[in-house]
């Protein structure tokens, strides 16, 4: 075996000293990871405030919301939002959350910061690409935010931007002129950034692993980031041309998504030959894998963190990686389950339904293996551990409703109702965000050199865990009763009877949202006042815990790391109950 000290001294990179190169246009993956995190943090608070505004309007439609008229005098005269402004907020909430939060936080932010360190690299394979990825994402974000400030407001076509509503321009309604242009351009730019990022992640994982870091020794979150980047490479490569076609339909008079004979605003539209279903196919070919882009990194993060606090190895490590790969592979065969009642050939419903249901098998395996890891453990109930356990619970709750929506025969009654809203918020949004919270409490000491406050973290967990159930569980009942989503007010006979449930949800959403301020406070306060973190405060095994907190510019201070073990060596006998990946100590046979 190698003697680490006998390694040749490596060339040590020196950190840049100029302000711009160090903090703004940095090539350092750690700074870029933090930049992604900061962008996601700003975005998630914007998205959350939008959901507050929508929830308030749904429960008490006549109440003026203070200051809302300052944001948009047209959209909310005297603070009471118009139906179209509600749809603008809905579109922006979905878009911001899916793209700038759920794609950026668990994947781009943590992946950038920790993938190179976990595999023993000094940086990403292409640091300049990496910097471009972030700043291109930032440009996309600015374009999206600009939609709030154009004359007729943000688009009202939802985050899925179904054509022809999104394609014909201002004749289709407010927000669909300049607002929708900005949306389409922003998403196209976001696609470019994500493609660059995905290429970088893949190259880094395949080429820059240090000595001894075989694929099977990679931590589970590195595996998840790797699989996710493969998914992202294929998914964004389809959304990008789709957005370009949409932009052409909107600005250059083409008709990719617009058929002949449409009459909008009493005008016969000058288009012919396009297919609205083409947009849906292209969008969902991206859109469904996107769900896994959001959730897989969080599954990986939980599979990494849970054993650390359970003090025992993850059960079935190969089955966990295999299930993640299976989910990634299957994610490309199921997009049509968003389109059962869309008017596509009804025979194809079964073709899309079966692989969708099959995804529940690897998902069930993952859940059972996480459960089996908790079994018999001596759990350390830190905030990070609690969020991992909460993840398991919400992942079960969100996954179960997938059994319903995967079946075309049930989609006839559940499609476009609040049942769907409950499903995807639980399984994609809440579960993914729980992974991000777990990751934040776990890695904050490594990223900043200071510990976060545990009491505040636990308080944050409890309010959030109970809160998300109070918000999203009742939405299943609403959906069953036939409450249609994307309505700015409830005027149907059925829905009026359900308004008390909406009021309950709104109160829960306001309180749960307010609880996130505890997290924000903890984040900022701990950054400056938190206890100093040691190199390995959680007694974890992976490579980021073999370097200082925070790591030096080149991650390991000129050392060449050599890996002797997998990441899963917890609960061993001996003076300490774990073996670091860098420790040449032999793993006892269990």
């Amino acid at each position: 075996m190698h003697d680490v000290s006998a390694q040749p001294a490596v060339h040590q990179h020196s950190a840049p000293t100029g302000f711009l190169r160090k903090w703004v246009f940095s090539l350092d993956h750690k700074v870029i990871g933090k930049q992604y995190y900061a962008l996601a943090l700003v975005s998630v608070f914007i998205g959350m405030v939008l959901s507050w505004l929508m929830r308030l309007h749904l429960a008490w439609p006549a109440w003026p919301i203070p200051l809302l008229d300052k944001l948009s005098a047209v959209g909310a005269p005297a603070g009471v939002m118009t139906p179209e402004y509600y749809l603008s907020l809905l579109t922006m909430h979905g878009t911001i959350m899916v793209f700038f939060v759920l794609t950026n936080a668990p994947f781009a932010a943590f992946g950038n910061y920790f993938l190179p360190i976990q595999i023993g690299a000094e940086d990403m394979a292409f640091p300049r690409f990496n910097m471009m990825s972030f700043w291109t994402t930032f440009v996309a974000w600015l374009l999206m935010m600009a939609a709030f400030f154009v004359a007729d407001g943000p688009p009202i076509s939802g985050w899925t931007a179904y054509a022809p509503l999104s394609a014909v321009g201002g004749d289709a309604g407010p927000g669909l002129a300049m607002g929708q242009n900005l949306w389409a351009i922003s998403i196209a730019v976001f696609c470019i950034a994500s493609l660059l990022g995905a290429l970088n992640f893949i190259s880094t994982t395949l080429d820059l692993r240090t000595k001894g870091m075989s694929l099977s020794r990679m931590p589970f979150c590195s595996w998840a980031w790797f699989i996710t980047s493969v998914i992202a490479l294929l998914a964004f490569a389809v959304l990008l041309p789709a957005c370009i076609l949409l932009i052409l339909d909107r600005t250059a008079g083409t008709s990719f998504f617009i058929p002949a004979g449409l009459v909008l605003s009493d005008k016969l539209q000058p288009h012919s030959g396009g297919s609205p279903l083409l947009w849906q196919h292209l969008f969902w070919f991206f859109g469904h894998p996107e769900v896994y882009i959001a959730i897989l990194p969080s599954i990986g993060i939980v599979a990494t963190i849970l054993p650390t606090f359970a003090r025992k190895p993850l059960l079935g490590p190969r089955a966990v990686t295999g299930s993640m790969i299976a989910i990634g592979f299957l994610s490309y065969m199921v997009w049509g389950h968003h389109m059962f009642v869309s008017g596509m050939n009804p025979f194809s419903a079964d073709i899309f339904s079966v692989p969708t249901l099959i995804i529940t098998i690897p998902a069930t395996i993952l859940t059972l293996l996480l459960l089996g890891t908790v079994y018999g453990a001596k759990m350390r109930f830190t905030a990070a551990a609690l969020f991992c356990l909460g993840f398991i619970s919400v992942f079960i709750s969100g996954g179960i409703s997938g059994f319903f929506l995967a079946q075309p025969s049930l989609d006839t009654i559940l499609h476009a109702t609040y049942f769907v809203v409950a499903h995807f918020h639980f399984v994609m949004a809440v579960a993914s965000i729980f992974g991000v919270f777990a990751g934040t409490y776990y890695w904050f000491p490594k990223m900043t050199g200071r510990m976060m406050s545990e009491p505040l973290g636990k308080l944050h967990f409890w309010l959030t865990f109970l809160g998300v159930y109070a918000i999203f569980m009742p939405m299943h009942y609403l959906g069953l009763a036939g409450n249609v989503r994307r309505y700015s007010a409830f005027v149907d006979d059925y829905a009026i009877a359900l308004i008390p449930v909406h009021k309950f949800i709104t109160i829960a959403a306001l309180l749960t949202g307010a609880a996130q301020l505890i997290f924000l406070f903890n984040l900022i306060w701990s950054r400056f006042r938190g206890a100093i973190a040691s190199e390995n405060p959680w007694e974890a095994t992976s490579l980021e815990w073999s370097t200082s907190s925070p790591p030096p510019f080149d991650n390991f201070g000129g050392r060449h790391m050599v890996v002797y073990n997998g990441p899963n060596e917890y609960g061993v006998d001996g003076p300490q109950d774990y073996i670091m990946q860098t420790s040449p100590e032999k793993v006892p046979v269990r």
Binding site: P164, V341, I400, F403, D411, Y494
Partner: protein, 266 residues
């Protein structure tokens, strides 16, 4: 802390399941011939996945409860049998569940969307536009007039773009704002959209189908109970989406005949 977590998970699970089981909020009544199969499929899915949901949440609570005992005398235990039985269990149990749901469910789906409509159906054309539905009956000649988008004019009530001056079949077409049908008679709708995507959803019929601009989409069903039901739009179609609705009125055959005669006479 662990025991508190277990208690919270158990309470959440029991309350959630109880509300489902007690049908506190549930589907409205079913009034179609194809609906019972859908409702049956829903019940099957609820039972199968409900057990899965309940069992896995309770297991989580029990395991966390056990894991919260950190006394130094207790040794860490591995899951009996390791990962293999869990993986096998997941593949077999969930696999069987999937097979059952697919075989039973595809029949329910096929009856609504794949089975051909009865040729003796009453044919009705539906035009959706921002933000209304219009329904067209062929009139005494049994023929629908052709649709000409350039002739669509909401101001004069020509929602379908008919051309009665040149098209004989269009002259007696009856266009109304609500869908009136006879009970127990097969109905064959053809959905067109004037502008953007919309959807036809009647909760009580257990039928939902999008309108796609550029396509004529067939929908067929038979209503088994008279009464008045809501037709709502479920595809985001613009600012008035929330308010886009019409009514389905199911009448006895006699009442329907009289209604149709009255409409034709106008």
């Amino acid at each position: 802390m662990g025991k508190l977590f277990s208690a919270a998970v158990i309470i959440i699970t029991v309350v959630s399941v109880a509300i489902f089981v007690m049908h506190v909020w549930w589907l409205p009544i079913d009034i179609s011939t194809t609906g019972p199969a859908v409702d049956h499929q829903l019940d099957e899915t609820f039972i199968g996945t409900g057990i899965l949901f309940f069992a896995s949440q309770i297991l989580l609570a029990l395991f966390v409860w056990g894991a919260s005992n950190t006394s130094s005398s207790r040794k860490i235990k591995n899951f009996p049998g390791g990962a293999t039985p869990l993986v096998a269990f997941a593949i077999i149990l969930v696999g069987l569940e999937i097979l059952t749901l697919t075989f039973v469910g595809s029949k329910a789906w096929g009856a609504i969307y794949i089975a051909p409509p009865d040729p003796n159906s009453l044919k009705i054309d539906v035009q959706a536009e921002q933000f209304a539905f219009y329904f067209r009956y062929p009139g005494p000649d049994g023929q629908f007039g052709g649709i000409h988008p350039d002739k669509i004019d909401d101001g004069s009530g020509n929602y379908f773009g008919l051309d009665p001056a040149n098209d004989v079949a269009a002259r007696d077409d009856i266009v109304v704002g609500s869908l009136t049908i006879p009970v127990d008679k097969p109905i064959w709708l053809t959905l067109h959209s004037k502008d953007v995507g919309h959807s036809f959803f009647v909760r009580e019929l257990r039928v939902q189908q999008d309108f796609v601009p550029g396509l004529d989409i067939p929908v067929h069903f038979t209503a088994t109970k008279t009464g008045k039901y809501e037709i709502v739009c479920t595809q985001l179609c613009g600012l008035g989406h929330y308010n886009m609705k019409a009514y389905l009125e199911v009448l006895s055959q006699d009442e329907f005949d009289q209604w149709l005669k009255a409409q034709a006479g106008q």
